[in-house]
């Protein structure tokens, strides 16, 4: 039975088996390869997407579970890298190999959506467990702080 859901704001239907993992459906059938495969067992966070606004690990999410729901992937975070986090990521030059960064950004976006000005502890708490082998953690923290400062700036003013 086909599964219908909203993907980055647009309705899509997939006829992949219901027990297929959303990670592979996104990557191999829908061509959205920005969501990465890192461990396949929910231990690294490289595959993090938003399901109805909440961060979830798509490597453990079965397709049948997303019927009628809304998924956002890194490709849908913004049209043009204009999300405050993407800008901050570029300004802090966060990525090294880059492989973990889609998951890092999606996890961070869910933090700022709920808490626009997190403390450092809140950042580490929320981000912990999204693994980065290149050791970009320090820059990730700084970039989130920078983006939250952008969010916190009074309306009509850019930094």
């Amino acid at each position: 039975m086909p599964t219908t859901f909203t993907l980055n704001g647009k309705p899509v239907t997939s006829d992949a088996p219901g027990n297929a993992m959303v990670l592979w459906v996104l990557r191999e059938r829908l061509g959205l390869t920005g969501t990465r495969f890192g461990c396949g067992v929910g231990e690294c966070g490289a595959c993090t997407i938003h399901l109805d606004g909440e961060p979830v690990q798509s490597c453990r999410l079965r397709l049948s579970r997303v019927e009628g729901r809304a998924i956002t992937t890194i490709e849908g975070l913004s049209e043009d890298r204009s999300h405050a986090l993407q800008q901050a990521w570029i300004e802090e030059e966060v990525p090294q190999c880059g492989y973990c960064q889609s998951g890092q950004l999606m996890q961070a976006a869910s933090l700022l959506a709920a808490n626009p000005s997190p403390t450092r502890e809140e950042i580490v708490d929320h981000m912990d467990g999204i693994l980065c082998r290149c050791g970009t953690y320090g820059r990730i923290i700084r970039a989130i702080e920078r983006a939250s400062a952008v969010n916190a700036a009074p309306a009509g003013r850019t930094r």
Binding site: R27, F37, P95, Y99
Partner: protein, 733 residues
């Protein structure tokens, strides 16, 4: 998918006519050739031809389009270290290109053109391997000379056109200027009429820019690859899609190198979506229409493994313990270096020291599991391959060998690497993809799962390091022996030399073992374990002698002012002389790696109930010569320190009954954000040629942490990783 070839052609189509330079690094240094006869980029590249060597037989480093855009080819693999930006920066600097107009593409995989000598500098060319922190170091001079030659050609052309002496012309980024007449002309305008001579003009090192005039080198040009790594668009091998592509997975031998004796071939072939099965020397591959079908079919595999693999029955914990016996044994190993008369100095010593240090196997854990896409021709006499590799030239050659065809028959598309750490200099995963594709005569994406990647990894070898030292009555360290025991040959030897420490009598040797477990270079190679042992032992001696660890190292480094400066710098950064905050202690370490000198200080605390070490701060000072991309260089040192701390604190791979015991990140943890210290990095100002910065952060970490622990508790940590259990044992032992 948009391939690189397509995007390059798009660029060239838009570019119209222009100039193209081919510069060949040959045995006689830098030779130059005109890249074929056509004068326009379109003609040169061929409007629709495939990517690869055939279109431009001599290759080319730079193309200048008439609208001023400059295309620079990057020969290095991009695995996060940033050399795909740093190398073009070096060339663009001497060429005086306008960086805003520069585009970067992967060079074709032609080591004869784009390779470098292994030792760095000029001379023997031919390797495109990105490893050992060698990219910037190895290409620096060659690319500067190449850039200067290109600039000279532009100047000569303008001089001819305007009827002025070339010596009266200067450049600003992207523009040739004749100050006397006030005339200016852009590189793009020059490209419209310029001719490239068959032999490019010779430029000597003396004619290169003075570092004081650098506009790009040392100024942190934004990394080319970063934007695409913030929106998911960067293409790694696992992202590649080609029409008609199938999916392949492989079950590899649970005991390294064991062969499949038999498997339920007919049953698996009959499963839904399965297109074929492939028997390999050390595994069985399955190819299916979808990922899900491939995984499911693999789960259904029942394989009987033939006995006799070397690693059969191997127990790494017992083997590591047995290394002590090898170190105790009479039979001497392979001498690595010998100086003075150790026996005499040891005999005359007032105080003698001895300690054994251990480290377990470590796995690369690059974030992107291995994988590749291969499309072998229906006739089997050629292939197209997409892969992220540290050695595209070797991988291309390995594919050609596998197919029994000439290298030119293999079109290789380098992809971004989701990390390398040394694992991706091997071509095993690429050749596997080719085997699967050949067997089904369709394109195949081979996916290694994390479990595959870990279990059939190739690890940093475990080892024992036995150190002894003798201090004379005057308090001088006069005798030193270091014996490393393990299975890994050269992998064990790197970093064991202490050439910066002035100890007159030394004997360093290696004693082998053989286990049949695959081993491999791992970021900084043997420097990780060896520098841990050496630096921890130096602190052992300092404690025994009642000397300050920094003061003892200063004394030992007396022959090297640069090393002392690095040590002093980090001591100042960490306020070494001052008391750390309550409950914390600091430890120092000094290393050299890839020509760079580095010193680090760790500040730690300890949860005595759980045995968990927390690293709060880490300071690192490094002298790596000129730093081409300071902001990125700091990131490399930071990342190295994180890897070093990760291996010092949590990473541990064990083998039992011949099988790797860990399977994924739940039982093979790597450092997490909550474990991160604040890291501060400083580079010593320098105008010396650049050295490698990708690795020195790794070896500086473990020694500094162990020394901080000893400062805090009075007890030494001698077995990496310093897991909570081991820490508790040391505390109660």
């Amino acid at each position: 998918m948009k391939t690189r070839a397509q995007s390059r052609r798009t660029f060239l189509r838009q570019a119209g006519g222009g100039l193209s330079f081919a510069l060949v690094f040959g045995p006689a240094g830098l030779a130059a050739r005109r890249a074929g006869s056509p004068d326009t980029l379109d003609a040169l590249m061929g409007a629709d031809g495939p990517d690869g060597a055939a279109e431009h037989p001599f290759g080319a480093w730079v193309r200048i389009a008439t609208d001023g855009r400059v295309l620079i080819y990057n020969p290095a693999s991009e695995m996060g270290q940033g050399s795909m930006t740093a190398l073009p920066v070096i060339l663009a600097e001497e060429m005086d290109a306008d960086w805003d107009k520069v585009r970067i593409e992967h060079s074709p995989v032609e080591p004869g053109v784009y390779g470098r000598s292994w030792g760095g500098g000029r001379g023997r060319g031919g390797s495109m391997m990105t490893a050992g922190s060698m990219a910037v170091r190895g290409y620096y001079l060659s690319l500067r000379l190449a850039g200067a030659q290109i600039r000279r050609v532009l100047l000569d052309n303008v001089a001819r056109e305007w009827g002025v002496a070339a010596g009266e012309l200067t450049t600003e980024p992207g523009v040739v200027v004749h100050a006397a007449s006030g005339r200016r002309i852009t590189y793009g305008e020059v490209a419209a009429f310029a001719e490239v001579p068959d032999e490019l003009p010779e430029v000597s090192e003396a004619e290169l820019k003075s570092p004081a005039d650098f506009r790009l080198i040392g100024h942190s040009v934004p990394r080319h690859d970063v934007p695409a790594k913030t929106d998911g668009s960067a293409v790694y091998a696992l992202d590649v899609q080609v029409p008609g592509m199938l999916y392949g997975v492989i079950t590899r031998a649970p005991v390294h190198e064991a062969s499949p004796a038999s498997f339920n071939e007919a049953e698996v072939r009959g499963r839904p979506g399965v297109v074929g099965t492939v028997r390999l020397d050390y595994g069985v591959g399955v190819v299916a229409e979808t990922v899900e079908e491939a995984f499911a079919a693999r789960d259904a595999l029942e394989i009987e493994w033939a006995g006799g693999a070397r690693a059969e029955g191997f127990d790494s914990v017992a083997a590591l313990e047995a290394y002590t016996g090898i170190a105790d044994g009479e039979s001497r190993g392979r001498p690595l270096s010998e100086r003075g008369d150790v026996a005499a100095a040891m005999g005359a010593a007032a105080n003698r020291y001895r300690a054994d240090y251990f480290n377990d196997y470590v796995y690369h854990a690059q974030m992107e599991p291995l994988g590749a896409v291969a499309s072998v021709n229906p006739t089997g006499d050629g292939a197209e391959v997409w892969a992220g590799t540290q050695a595209p030239d070797m991988a291309r050659a390995a594919v050609a060998r596998e197919l029994g065809v000439a290298v030119e028959k293999v079109t290789f598309h380098p992809c971004y690497l989701g990390g390398g750490l040394g694992r991706r200099t091997m071509a095993d995963y690429i050749v596997e993809a080719v085997k699967l594709s050949r067997s089904v005569r369709r394109p195949v994406k081979l996916i290694w799962t994390r479990e595959d990647d870990l279990q059939y990894g190739a690890f940093r070898p475990m080892s024992l390091q036995r150190l002894t030292g003798g201090v004379d009555a005057g308090g001088t360290l006069t005798a030193w022996t270091h014996t490393v025991v393990g299975d890994g040959r050269g992998l064990l030897a790197s970093g064991i030399s202490i050439r910066y420490y002035d100890i007159p009598n030394q004997r360093i040797e290696m004693r082998g073992a053989s286990h049949g477990v695959r081993t491999k270079h791992w970021r900084a190679v043997g420097h990780g374990p060896n520098k841990f042992a050496i630096e921890a032992f130096i602190d052992d001696i300092a404690r025994g002698e009642g000397t300050d660890p920094v003061a003892l190292r200063r004394k030992l480094l007396k022959g090297s002012p640069r090393a002392i400066a690095v040590l002093d710098e980090v001591a100042e950064m960490a306020r070494w002389g001052e008391e750390p905050p309550g409950g914390r202690a600091r430890g120092v370490a000094f290393v050299e790696r890839s020509g760079t000198l580095a010193a680090g200080v760790a500040e730690i605390s300890l949860d005595e109930a759980t045995g968990k070490i927390r690293v709060h701060r880490f300071w690192c000072a490094a002298d790596g010569g000129m730093v081409v991309q300071p902001r990125n260089a700091r990131a490399q040192i930071e990342g190295g320190i994180v890897n070093g701390l990760s291996t010092a604190l949590v990473e541990r791979l064990t083998v039992r009954d011949g099988r790797v015991e860990q399977s994924n990140f739940h039982d093979y943890p790597i450092l997490r954000m909550s474990d991160m210290p604040d890291i501060e990095v400083r580079f010593m100002p320098s105008t010396e040629p650049p050295m490698g910065l990708g690795e020195p952060g790794v070896p500086v970490a473990a020694g500094a942490v162990a020394n901080a622990f000893a400062a805090l508790t009075g007890r030494p940590l001698r077995h990496m990783p310093f897991t909570p259990n081991r820490v508790l044992e040391v505390l109660t032992g």
